[in-house]
Amino acid sequence: MPRQIAVANQKGGVGKTTTVVNLGVALAELGAQVLLVDLDPQAALTATCNLDPYHLSRTSYTVLSRDNTSLVACLRTVWPNLHLLPGSVDLAAAELMMANIPNAAFKLREALNRARVPVDYVLFDTPPNLGLLTVNALVAAGELLIPVQCQYLSMRSVRALLETVWLVHKKMNPQLDLLGVLATMYREHSDHSREVLAELRSVFEDKVFDFVIPDEDAVAQAPVAKKSVLTYDPNSASAKAYRQLAEVIHHER
């Protein structure tokens, strides 16, 4: 049974997609088979993996919207050991469409259970909202990774996410556990960043990872080159931090 990790935060631009890509690549480097699932209508994860989200015929939208679609048939191998269920801009309409589908929140979980993809990790990249797509990821996942940008507004969005987790716990997926809180875009010389990190640790205690993802250019430049930070700038602090994150997660098994 693969470890299924949802990377979610209601706020956009906190590093969800970046975390999914780089954590996936880092886990793949460790020899694990990893499946990335792009549920974001912006399909940034798909674009980072050098696929055109506007011209894909089989995507996560296909899986969610059609009952008999084989998930395996939609997968693309984008890196050794790294597979992608690409996203699509059509996902923007998926929430409306899914509102009338029976058991809409369980679609992704059912598809994954049916497919039984032989991977070690499944990482879900969620849209920056708490709609049905995010709920699908939270229902399908066993663990939740919350990237929090070291800013006040990003902290605020955690509250809404946790409210949704309460509901998901109560009604749909009581097994959902918190893998950890990852502080992203940390600015070393910023008092505010330090304060936010301290508050994260005071609230989530040992669930906050010891390392942080620094705010550096390599993270922003890597998607332009259609690469992960680990391949774009292997010696950058971000690449090292993501490798550490992968090691921590991998050795928890």
């Binding site: 929140a105 049905l132 902290m155 987790v165 005071s202 609230v203 942080v212 090292k240 931090a241």
Partner: protein
């Protein structure tokens, strides 16, 4: 960094929902200081110290009667400050918590933080009044050092470097907050700062010129050292102060001297953006959400097992319940919409059980009633020739044949009405969807049919002058058939009559209204 813009000690308030951390369910939920739903039995923040009964002085202070009073800026006199010190000593130890969303307690002077902002260490070490301090502050500890993997570390470390070797005490890397600049707020007075002005004021920050190179030294772009975060929390906003509040730096005598205008600073107020959320949390409690969820599940079971509704209706009910569930998953803001869907389904189910019952009670009784009418009408048609002479006058108009034609035509109309009623009743009883509100329609169906039959006779008498002769030939059967059809389709016939009446008596008006509607 000013206390106002600091998030220190507010982590739980900002990040945790009223229910608490979902991943630590055994812990009691942490009370929210000023945002969200207060813990059960605890009034919202600040209300516990709000006097319930205002004295006339309080009211006068809250609603100034003169323009000067309204414009006056609260002054922190020495006595007032001292009284604040004694009255709210606990509050002084809670930096960063500025409850500016509501007016201050009126029998206290405005609060001014006259002490320097404590550092993290002193903050943690200072014994605080548990009742007055925020929940997280009581257990605050210096956080562990964030491991920043710098370039220098990258050069020295190897791939096998353990994580622990990079850890260091936080006190070495995080400068205490007290070292932050505590300069007073920019003194801009009431002169608006124009960022596009070519010749900036001396006190205003100089904006970089358009097209300036990105590599311009940072020092040239830095704003004046006097423009620094405010060291004291702003005074709470007064009633009707709009979107700005006035704060006073009591360390600057010149500023106090110029309280009437030039020395004050304009700060952003903590706008009540959480008010809607607060109301939402107050009105749509978790218990209500749970209750609605349970109602959805209950209704779903009822809808699945309901034998009274048709498959199509059942499918629609299940669809509505799924939409309601998805709406509820979308958040508390969708509570009303979700409720509407659930109520619709519940009313459908209740209505289904009612019409099921009525189909076998009212429906069967009415069917018997219609059958009785059927028998009577058939008997009337069969025995009509025997009764017709009794009503004939022997004159030219009411001859025996004409009376017989009228009788049979009326009975044919009644027969049509009965047939229609029996057909409709049977259909509804089979479908088990008979609604008793149509009882009267079924009861009057045969009678209206009789009347419509008579109407047919009259209309055809106008169109056929030789009615007496018509009764002699086969044309009379046209009367009967027409009467039967009119009785059967009473609604259509009545509508035609209605239109004919309108056409004759108010034709112009109808045409006009039709044109308008088209």
């Amino acid at each position: 960094m000013s206390d106002e813009s600091s998030v220190a000690g507010k982590g739980a308030e900002i990040m945790l929902p009223p229910q608490g951390n979902p991943f630590k369910k055994d812990e009691p939920p942490k009370a929210s200081k000023s945002v969200g739903t207060p813990a059960e039995g605890v009034p919202p923040a600040g209300l516990e110290e709000e006097p319930m009964d205002l004295t006339p002085e309080d009211i006068a202070a809250r609603f100034p009667s003169t323009q000067d009073e309204r414009n006056a800026v609260p002054v922190a006199s020495g006595d007032a400050a001292a009284s604040v010190e004694t009255a709210t000593s606990g509050d002084v130890a809670t930096p960063g918590v500025v409850d500016s969303a509501r007016p201050p307690v009126l029998n206290k002077a405005p609060r001014f933080d006259l002490e320097p902002t404590p550092s993290l260490e002193t903050f943690a070490a200072t014994p605080m009044d548990a009742a007055a301090s925020p929940p997280m502050a009581a257990t605050f500890e210096a956080p562990a050092e964030p491991i920043m993997v710098t370039e220098s570390m990258a050069a020295s470390e190897t791939a096998a470097t353990p994580v622990d070797s990079m850890a260091a005490p936080i006190s070495e890397s995080i400068p205490p907050i007290e070292s932050a600049p505590t300069a007073s707020a920019p003194t801009v007075g009431f002169q608006p700062y124009n960022p596009f002005a070519s010749a900036p004021d001396a006190g205003a920050p100089s904006a970089p010129a358009l097209g300036a190179p990105a590599s311009e030294p940072a020092a040239t772009r830095e704003i004046s050292p006097t423009v620094a975060p405010v060291s004291t929390p702003p005074a709470p906003p007064r009633q009707g102060s709009g979107s700005t509040a006035v704060s006073v730096d009591v360390d600057r005598p010149d500023e106090i001297d110029r309280l009437t205008g030039r020395g004050v600073t304009l700060d952003f107020v903590k706008t009540p953006v959480t008010e809607d959320e607060f109301i939402l949390q107050m009105l749509i409690t978790d218990e209500r959400v749970d209750e609605l969820w349970d109602r959805i599940e209950k209704a779903e079971k009822m809808a699945i097992n309901d034998e009274n509704t048709s498959p199509k209706q059942r499918s629609e009910n299940l669809e509505s319940l799924k939409i309601a569930r998805n709406l509820l998953l979308g958040g508390k803001r969708n509570y009303e919409d979700a409720t509407r869907y659930v109520v619709e389904v519940e009313s459908n189910l209740i209505y289904g059980s009612r019409v099921h019952r009525w189909s076998y009670s009212h429906g069967i009784l009415l069917l018997v009633y219609e059958l009785v009418w059927l028998v009577l009408l058939v008997l009337g048609i069969v025995s009509g020739p025997n009764f017709a002479p009794n009503f004939a006058t022997g004159g030219e108009l009411l001859t025996r044949e004409f009376v017989l034609t009228i009788m049979i035509t009326m009975l044919s109309g009644g027969l049509g009405g009965v047939m229609k009623s029996i057909y409709s009743l049977t259909t509804h009883i089979i479908k088990r969807d008979f609604d008793r509100q149509h009882n009267l329609w079924y009861i009057t169906g045969p009678i209206v049919g009789l009347g419509m039959g008579f109407f047919v006779v009259l209309v055809l008498s106008i169109g056929v002058p030789t009615i007496g002769g018509a009764a002699e030939g086969r044309t009379v059967y046209v009367f009967y058939v027409l009467a039967f059809l009119v009785g059967f389709q009473q609604n259509v016939a009545l509508r035609l009559v209605e239109r004919a009446i309108k056409l004759f008596f108010s034709g112009g008006e109808e045409k006009e209204s039709e044109e308008k509607s088209s």
